[in-house]
């Protein structure tokens, strides 16, 4: 390129900037509806980041599951609860000092970790290697998912079933106790 910046870096820079800005605005926004919509923006950008990381299947899963199901669920709950805007009080908790202490502890921990990782950036031999030129990404994911990760795949199915049944069960139980 003429400017000395290649297209990959440009796309990554835009996606990273949009994700960081939208998540900061989401965390600091007063209105919960705005929070959910800004996280939706972040999730869509992240789906395209997954595409640049070479996985078109995970981009589709990210868009369908996160943008299509999870955040719509959040939006339904925000409308169901009918939150007022947090204009009267601060949007942050009262025990600010304790929480910032925990946050700074994590920040320092992560800084040390990044420093250690930056020193040793050589990658070792891959455990389950794949060649993207031979077959596409979806083929490899399916191959290893159904050959090496079959039991976790079954377990995640049971977890989803239990989550759905548990949600229905919890809501039903409260309804019966309120009527009694």
């Amino acid at each position: 390129m003429g400017l000395g910046i290649d297209l990959n870096s440009l796309i990554f820079g835009y996606l990273a900037f949009a994700m960081v800005v939208s998540s900061v605005l989401a965390v600091f926004s007063k209105n919960p509806v705005h929070t959910v919509l800004l996280v939706l923006v972040m999730v869509v950008h992240q789906a395209f980041l997954l595409l640049t990381l070479g996985s078109e299947f995970l981009m589709a899963v990210q868009l369908i599951v996160y943008a299509g199901a999870v955040l719509v669920l959040f939006l339904f709950v925000v409308y169901l609860i009918n939150l007022r805007k947090e204009t009267k009080h601060s949007i942050f908790v009262k025990r600010f000092c304790l929480c910032s202490l925990v946050f700074l502890l994590f920040l320092g921990f992560m800084g040390v970790n990044l420093y250690l990782i930056y020193g040793a950036k050589k990658f070792e031999q891959a455990v389950l290697p794949f060649n993207p030129l031979e077959k596409d990404n979806l083929w490899w994911i399916a191959h290893y998912l159904f050959n090496y990760y079959l039991l976790p795949f079954e377990i995640i199915g049971v977890i989803l079933l239990v989550a759905v049944l548990g949600a229905v069960f919890l809501v039903r139980k409260v309804k019966t106790t309120e009527e009694a």
Binding site: N8, V27, I117
Partner: protein, 100 residues
């Protein structure tokens, strides 16, 4: 070509933003959304490791993380609705039912 460190730093920044929201915000819904931001940061890290190491394990883990996040959101939002029904508030510092 974007180096691996760029993805690592992006993932760390997003994780810290999510952690900040998780610790600091009063609204229970926003706390749950912050958990989603943290999970998204981890997804980026797994996918980037998988891409740079030519190892399929990270992609498979991303698949599991997304499925787990869906289950977590369902249960978490159910609990938020139950707390709102019972206590008429979703602000975490007003929920002091068991304080005694």
């Amino acid at each position: 070509m974007v180096p691996f460190e760029a993805y690592l730093i992006l993932s760390s920044v997003l994780f810290l933003i999510g952690l900040f929201g998780f610790l600091m915000r009063r609204n229970l819904i926003v706390v749950l959304v912050s958990i989603e931001i943290m999970l998204n940061a981890i997804i980026i890290l797994f996918a980037a490791l998988s891409y740079f190491k030519k190892d399929i394990t990270g992609y498979v883990m991303v698949f599991f993380i997304i499925a787990m996040a869906a289950a977590e959101a369902a249960i978490g939002l159910t609990l938020a609705i139950l707390i709102y029904k019972k206590l008429k508030t979703v602000y975490t510092d007003e929920i002091n039912h068991y304080k005694g």
